[in-house]
Symmetry: C2
Subunit: 299 residues, 2 copies
Amino acid sequence: MSIRSRRDRDSAGSRHKFSIATFRGLQQPELSKRLSRLIKSENNAIGAHETAGRERGSIAAQLSEWGESTEDDAISDISDKLGVMLAEIGEQEDTFAQNLEDYRGVLKHIRNMEASVQPSRDQRQKVTDEISKLKYKEPNSTRITTLEHELVRAEAQNLVAEAQLSNTTRTKLKEAFDIHTAAVIERAEKQIILARHARRLLNYIDDEPVVPGDSRHAYDHELEARQVLEDAETDLRAWRPSVQPIASSETHVNGLGGNGVHADTDSVLTNGANGVDTTGPPEDATSEMERAEPAVLAS
Amino acid sequence: MSIRSRRDRDSAGSRHKFSIATFRGLQQPELSKRLSRLIKSENNAIGAHETAGRERGSIAAQLSEWGESTEDDAISDISDKLGVMLAEIGEQEDTFAQNLEDYRGVLKHIRNMEASVQPSRDQRQKVTDEISKLKYKEPNSTRITTLEHELVRAEAQNLVAEAQLSNTTRTKLKEAFDIHTAAVIERAEKQIILARHARRLLNYIDDEPVVPGDSRHAYDHELEARQVLEDAETDLRAWRPSVQPIASSETHVNGLGGNGVHADTDSVLTNGANGVDTTGPPEDATSEMERAEPAVLAS
């Protein structure tokens, strides 16, 4: 029930050896490499849904024009109205791609946070390494004390960074897949409405075989077929999301039943994250750190 | 409520000027050109859905591996199980593409029939032209009588061809969009099942902000998360098509309440259609023509 064994699938993503995108991927800090690659793949998936939607719209127009060219009243009318339905199915595919773009944007928050936490880890490691090197080479150097103070500061900073990373990862992962799954359901429910009404149209094509030379009954379903389009439009307009909201601490922040404490997430602790909208610890965490830091420094 | 005005969309399909596909398109008889182009566009749409499904599978694996790398038990478990759901959503996208391939195959029956009817129209036109040319140049030529007999035969043949075309077009159009719309609904219903269960997983991620230095509660939703996967699998396996069948004369042929008369569609009249599986007129139409032809010839 795990898909971790399917590692071989990944190789398909690295075909273009000399593209800028791969170059950029290499420049990503270690911590954010995986998510960077995922976000890139998501771009391909979104592009595929956009193409599918665009092609569906084009096919819809072609179907309608083909139907007109048959000079068969029934085929002409039904193919035109089927075309309207297909075009709308294509529109829904495009809306789905746009919603996935929103989800992809939320994943970028996690990637940016990962990228901004990397220097903090590196700095702590660097100072630790310098101290042990110095202790071996010049055990009596006064720089050791200075570096030890620096290490305490680096550790404090990293402690905050890791908390920010954990908070952002969890909140944004929930938010991202809340958007993603709701988008899957929205496309599905709307396309079901369209496909079900489209099937009603098919029943207006009389396909009893005709004998050569005989003419068919005149087509008289034009009003009914138009009614099908109107029904589909009405149903689409009446569509409302039916998904259960995902419980999230961020939902509280946005005023849905929150206790007011978390109202301001723009704390000083998130300033290191290159100005991106991170989900840093709430205010009380900030003051916690402000209280904690002098104590740590005095050790 | 018509989409015939959206003609400009079509231009996007003719970018590759020198491809074999375009060359082939030019070779198609006039009558089947439009549908040939549509079938070609459908190939692009199907390819886009295949790409979307493949990318979704790759993203699913990447999500799971990213989650493992976070060394956060909750993120690791949920991302792996979300990955399983996404991979299955990707599989459904691929199944959808395969079903569209079936629908595309049915459209080819109409195109092939169109292509095979073209020579019959051409032949009738050619003989008509020859007669009027001869009547002008050599009004007393004995060839005129011969050609007039030939025209009667050509008209009889064309009458059959046009009936075959009408029957095939109507039956196969219904069949094609029966498959197409049922495929849209199947993908939609199955992806709704998967997305709804995936949303349950998200609620097992505790995203209450942690204060720097504090550790989170241990993750203890592993069994519940596994249950979500099992529920999704059970629901998928229990899925049955819910669409109303489309009334079709061909459904009768296949034994669903037919009267037995149309059981054998492989009449001699369809032999001219390059051996493709056409929906020619039923047996009684054949004998109708066999009775009609000598009478026509005697005129």
